[in-house]
């Protein structure tokens, strides 16, 4: 197989490189590895990407670990044939695909979300295009002036090897779990962000995502480094539905939030119903740093996702707000992990789940306090809302506490959508459908109010559609 690599031109200014990375003009080789996974396939991926030896070796070692690891003990039932999956497709998954191939329910969803035709094609991966040259240009310049690096991870390996080598796989090593090992072996795409010390970006970094089709990958790898005293809000994905023709999506997201820095990572994803969505997300927060995960999950066959914050030094804070909506045939096994490794660290988990039409949601959460981590405070609140008697919700809280001087709170509540609530609202003239949607929207209000405006609007519409049961 001949593989031709188109590498963006190197430029002295790292951020300037992004400008050259034009999806419309760079012609991508159309390449699809054969099905299955073995050393040869992984070598092919390295060949395709023209990777340095260290990354090539890292992939091969990760593959060994993947083969040797058992399936994770946490979470739902995974019925996957690892040899029946394509692990590498051409870098932009777009050119071989046509609009006709996009599943009907996804098209309908786009339509009902009111997303313009061009953007629909982009979001579905059919067309990679710049959403807006103007926004892109000014944003790029603004970031470049501040010394921010924002690119895809493949490019970062080539252009910022010293930064990547310092942080890559340090927070989530391949040995962490079977799916982290798999991602480490076959990863492709994802975002790489470096924010220099003291730089505070006061708008959410999201427009970039929309122009970067590689983020849509099956095994993306994201690395975010927020240097001392810096601050960002990164919005990954969007509320528009995501689909993949493959059955497995397994991303790894690593974030380092350094002394006094702040990072908020927001993602709302709506996957096609046949996808196993198995994602490892972890942040390390150092002295007086704050990490916030806002994580929304809709769709998929099984999602296993537990964003984690390791509080490494005194004064660190971790906050996780997670929400899952399990519809028919779906299992959302979502939750959070907070690990207190230092004294005077604080955390909060708010987890909400909605189950409908036989869907199953589980909250699975870990709070761990390491020896020596005194004066630690964490509060966990998880609320489940069950919309009918076919659906199910479980709570699996794990507490591992190695210190005395700690304050850990856990409140869990499960409620069936109240007959009394429905009666109350309908007795005031709302139809039953309007009333249920209102109750559900109220339930997710704490999440929605944290979202940027346009995401909040889309989120509400998505929930509305899930409630009507017309899209999966």
């Amino acid at each position: 197989m001949t593989t031709e690599i188109t590498t963006p031109t190197l430029d002295a200014d790292p951020v300037g490189d992004i400008n050259k990375y034009d999806f419309q003009t760079v012609s991508k080789p159309i390449f699809k590895a054969r099905k299955g996974i073995d050393a040869e396939i992984v070598h092919q991926i390295s060949d395709m990407k023209n990777e340095p030896d260290w990354m090539r070796e890292f992939r091969q070692q990760s593959l060994e670990i993947f083969f040797s690891k058992p399936m994770p003990k946490w979470g739902g039932d995974i019925a996957l044939d690892f040899q029946d999956i394509y692990y590498y497709l051409k870098p932009t998954n777009s050119q071989g695909r046509t609009w006709d191939e996009v599943p009907k329910e996804i098209k309908d969803t786009f339509e009902r979300l009111g997303i313009p035709e061009a953007e629909r094609k982009f979001l579905s991966g059919v067309k990679a295009q710049f959403e807006s040259e103007v926004i892109y240009g000014s944003l790029k310049q603004d970031l470049a002036d501040k010394g921010v690096i924002f690119t895809d991870t493949d490019t970062a390996v080539r252009e910022h090897p010293e930064l990547v080598r310092k942080y890559f796989a340090k927070i989530i090593p391949p040995s962490d779990n079977k799916f982290a090992a798999l991602n480490s072996a076959v990863w492709s795409g994802g975002s790489f962000i470096y924010i220099p010390p003291g730089v505070k970006i006061d708008f959410p970094l999201q427009a970039y995502f929309r122009i970067n089709a590689e983020n849509m990958g099956q095994f993306e790898r994201t690395l975010i480094i927020v240097d001392e005293g810096a601050s960002i809000h990164y919005v990954e994905g969007c509320t528009a539905p995501m689909y993949s023709s493959e059955s497995l999506h397994s991303a790894v997201v690593e974030i380092s939030v350094q002394r006094g820095a702040r990072c908020r990572y927001t993602t709302i994803q709506n996957w096609a119903n046949n996808i196993y969505n198995l994602v490892t997300k972890r942040a390390m927060a150092y002295a007086d740093a704050t990490m916030e995960w806002i994580d929304g999950n809709l769709g998929s066959k099984l999602t296993m996702k537990y964003p984690a914050v390791y509080m490494m030094e005194p004064g660190a804070r971790g906050e996780i707000l997670s929400i899952a909506f399990a519809g028919p045939g779906q299992h959302q096994d979502a939750g959070a992990k907070l690990v207190h490794c230092a004294p005077n660290t604080t955390g909060q988990i708010i987890s909400k789940s909605i189950s409908k039409g036989g869907g199953r949601s589980s909250y699975r959460g870990l709070v761990r306090v390491e020896k020596g981590a005194t004066n630690v405070k964490t509060n966990v609140v998880c609320d489940a809302l069950i919309l009918d008697d076919k659906s199910r919700s479980d709570t699996y809280p794990y507490l591992e506490i190695a210190e005395q001087d700690v304050s850990i709170g856990h409140e869990a509540s499960v409620s069936r959508i109240g007959e009394e609530q429905l009666f109350y609202l309908t007795s005031r003239g709302l139809t039953e459908a309007e009333a249920s949607a209102m109750i559900v929207n109220g339930f997710i209000e704490p999440l929605v109010k944290e979202l940027p405006m346009e995401y909040a609007v889309e989120m509400n519409r998505l929930i509305q559609m899930q409630m009507e049961g017309s899209v999966g």
């Binding site: 109350y424 007795s427 005031r428 309007e434 339930f443 209000e445």
Partner: protein, 276 residues
Amino acid sequence: MSDTLVITNLHCSVEGKQILRGVNLTVRRGETHALMGPNGSGKSTLGLVIMGHPKYVVTEGTITLNGEDLHEKSPDERARRGLFYAFQRPVAIPGVKLADFLRHAATNVRNPERKEGEELMPMRDFRKELKAKMEQLRMNPDFARRYVNDGFSGGEMKRAEILQMAMLQPKIAVLDETDSGLDADAVRLASQSIAEIGREKMGLLIITHHDKLLEHNPPEFTHVMLGGRIVETGGIELAAELHGQGYDRIRRTYPDAAEENRLMAAKEELAASGAH
């Protein structure tokens, strides 16, 4: 027969237990009725059945509004036809702002033909009206931004119920112990508010144990419920008698109904203790 609620020989049960055993009652727009009776006599049940609560099964008899049988009508259809029930203990709906909910409800009730997804009443008009009504009821405008009944005090809940009644302008309203859990001043305020927004414009069926709520709403008719039936109907003097002397005379006069009531109240207590 304009704006008249007619209840004829109504029997109903909940979870297999019979509660109402042949209720007859007519309430016209512009009339005020007091419904009294000891605990467990079926007063709240009657209110909930009128509104169409799914838990209560009508086994015999009819409820009609302006001649139309409501049997197959859902609670929202009843609301759109002009019925209102003010809850004794309203449930909280976290995350739903009172104003948003009310705009939705008012739109539907005023435009009964509205299809789902059609525009709500204009925000400006709604806000203006809500503000005026809240002023009339001496409510803090911030109240409308709070989540429906979430963390409301007893008094706040009852005033929110009255506010909703004011906004929805029903033809016939059932007020279920709007005075319960309120101190004397709060009851007086509620009584006054109901009179301001309801009297003459609506037909009121006021379920109460006390006379304070009737202070500004003197009933033309007082009904006494016992054992799932209305056993006696009189004027305002009957309400006064019951307030003064309680239900002893009623129990002696209707021993069979009193026995039914005793059994029903005992079952209710048992169910309540089992639930906790």
